[in-house]
């Protein structure tokens, strides 16, 4: 059904496209490069990025190659509502961090990483939990993006997978290494423009080239009743619901988002996050529609591998020039996320490992920090290439990192609002949540009888926690509590006796529930209160114009 072999690019063309893309982004990075880079600029660009760059960067970072492939796979598997159940919830990850982001910036306006703020709030164990999960998460993300690049180059050219991986890794490192986060966000603008422009052209072209809208009628028989139903319960339970549970976890846990939160001008947080939400959602859902079109057409990806769907749809229905545009779109998507991962990793090693745990915040040398950041980028790239070439099964590791982030959500957020939360409560609650998550997620214990019932009850609490926290962010504690309780009560009859069969969803909800209950129980009786003003004093710039040495408190601005 596909036309892949006949539209392969020659070696010269693929090299030309890669040189055009990575040469262009390298040239852009040289325009802002400084002989003496600043350590704080390398991590957060001075905390004053404007709306255009920050919105572009937030959008570009959140869109990776897997977003497009997975959205199309969701459309192909679950039918017309599939891309919504992938893209909408992914977009809401960005939106739901915005109210929390405002609070985080108001208490730590000059921080570089969320883990650094946890160190200021609680101490080392909380910081290292967050930093460690981010290091693992970013290396996995880096590797996944290099793999996507290698697969695409191998599919569309005479080059091998490994050659593709090395080309992409080298290209990303080339433009990111010297200026770090500053290069990442500036090149993100160009990359996101290329991606958005490509989607605006490619989706309609494939739509008409493949014979739509007439094919909606001729191909309707290819859909099951569930696939043809916009309100499909299969799509919700299989794709949407687990993703809703992950919404807060990935938004709170991911340093690439936190880094942009600390970089954007404080009064521009709201428009930045809203624009990125809409941009991400429209683009990912738009690409996901290719999966729906493939379903109507009865399109069969080679070897039944659903990851081949998007490239093969493009290869089959696009002329060569637009296939080149498609190639740039995917390379742009994976590169923008990969450079953000490199910037996130370097910031964690600079601020959390060297700055606060090796040298100490008062003695940290900015020049040494820059060296640490650049060495981190080189080592992380080499490690990701090595892991990519081994083609390891990363699913279990990815699940574990997601669970760790889910277990961290309530303790992290509570630490910014509730002055009773202690380091002991934070650490114990996260460990307890993980201890219960693992056997549920991987089926280490049978879910029959009382254990299944306990898991279902915890899942009900988890539903209340997730919806309560989402509402709390926008409408405050009272509405959050009401929505949490009502959500738990309303869901209970549908969940109890049923949900433990869905291990992915119930395990995530158990992680939320256990961390919340334990953290709350260990904090509620505390008489000692934390002064949030200390966070501003304990975090700040590392370079010579450090406000910690001449502290002039800045009032928090309202977005």
């Amino acid at each position: 059904m596909n036309n892949l072999d006949s539209v392969q690019f020659s070696a010269v063309i693929i090299v030309g496209l890669l040189v055009f893309f990575y040469g262009g982004t390298f040239y852009i990075s040289t325009r802002i490069g400084k002989k003496q880079e600043n350590a704080d600029g390398y991590m957060t660009a001075g905390n004053k990025i404007g709306f255009g760059i920050s919105a572009a960067s937030m959008t570009a970072t959140w869109i990776w190659a897997s977003s497009m492939y997975a959205s199309a796979a969701s459309g192909y598997t679950y039918g017309i509502s599939g891309p919504i159940h992938y893209g909408l919830w992914g977009a809401l990850m960005i939106l739901f961090i915005y109210p929390f982001g405002k609070r985080i910036r108001s208490v730590a306006p000059k921080a570089h990483t969320l883990a650094e703020v946890m160190h200021a709030r609680h101490g080392r164990s909380s910081q290292l939990m967050l930093a460690g999960s981010n290091i693992v998460g970013s290396v996995i993300s880096l590797m996944s993006n290099f793999i996507a690049g290698g697969v695409l180059i191998a599919m569309l050219s005479p080059f091998t997978f490994i050659q593709g991986v090395v080309a992409v890794a080298g290209g990303v490192l080339l433009y990111s290494l010297w200026s770090g986060f500053r290069a990442s966000v500036l090149t993100d603008f160009v990359q996101v423009m290329a991606m958005l422009g490509a989607v605006a052209i490619i989706v309609p072209v494939i739509f008409f080239a493949a014979g739509f809208p007439a094919a909606f009628e001729t191909g309707a028989a290819n859909l099951t009743p569930q696939q043809g139903n916009f309100f499909s319960s299969d799509a919700f339970l299989g794709q949407g619901a687990p993703y809703i549970a992950a919404v807060l976890a990935y938004a709170i846990g991911n340093q690439t988002i936190a880094q942009r939160l600390f970089a954007v001008r404080e009064d521009l947080i709201k428009p930045t996050f809203i624009t990125a939400t809409i941009g991400y959602g429209a683009m990912v859902i738009g690409v996901g529609m290719l999966g729906v079109l493939a379903l109507y057409l009865g399109f069969e990806p080679t070897d039944g591998d659903i990851n081949n769907l998007i490239p093969e749809m493009a290869a089959t229905y696009l002329p060569a020039i637009l296939l080149a545009v498609f190639f740039i779109m995917i390379i742009g998507a994976l590169s923008s996320t990969a450079d953000s991962d490199l910037a996130a990793l370097s910031s964690i090693m600079m601020a959390d490992v060297y700055g606060q745990n090796i040298a100490g915040k008062e003695k940290a040398n900015p020049k040494t920090m820059l060296l640490v950041g650049r060495m981190t980028m080189v080592v992380a790239t080499a490690a990701a290439v090595a892991f990519a070439s081994l083609q390891l099964n990363i699913l279990d590791l990815l699940v574990f990192v997601g669970a760790l982030w889910g277990a961290l959500v309530f303790p992290v957020l509570a630490s910014f609002y509730w002055d009773k939360v202690t380091n002991k409560a934070f650490t114990t609650s996260v460990i307890a949540a993980l201890a219960l998550f693992l056997p549920v997620r991987f089926g280490w214990i049978p879910m029959s009888g009382g254990i299944g019932l306990i898991v279902d009850v915890l899942s009900v609490i988890g539903i209340g926690v997730v919806l309560g926290l989402m509402t709390f962010g926008f409408f405050g504690i009272r509405v959050g509590k009401v929505v949490g309780v009502v959500a738990a009560l309303v869901s209970a009859p549908f969940v109890i006796g049923f949900l433990h069969d869905y291990a992915t969803l119930s395990a995530s909800l158990v992680a939320y529930a256990v961390s919340t209950v334990v953290c709350w129980a260990m904090s509620i009786g505390q008489t000692e209160r934390f002064d949030f003003a200390l966070i501003r004093q304990r975090t700040g710039n590392f370079d010579d114009d450090d406000p910690r040495r001449d502290p002039t408190p800045e009032p928090a601005k309202e977005a």
Partner: protein, 43 residues
Amino acid sequence: MTTLALTVYVLVWPLVVLAVMGVIGRAFFAEWREARRSGQDLI
């Protein structure tokens, strides 16, 4: 869903994408011009 509704459903996303491109692009170039005018770094 009818054929017309499905067509709109598929093709509306590229239009939203174009609108977001316009918003981000306009803001970026305004910031660029402002940075050049004031002699400051864009980032």
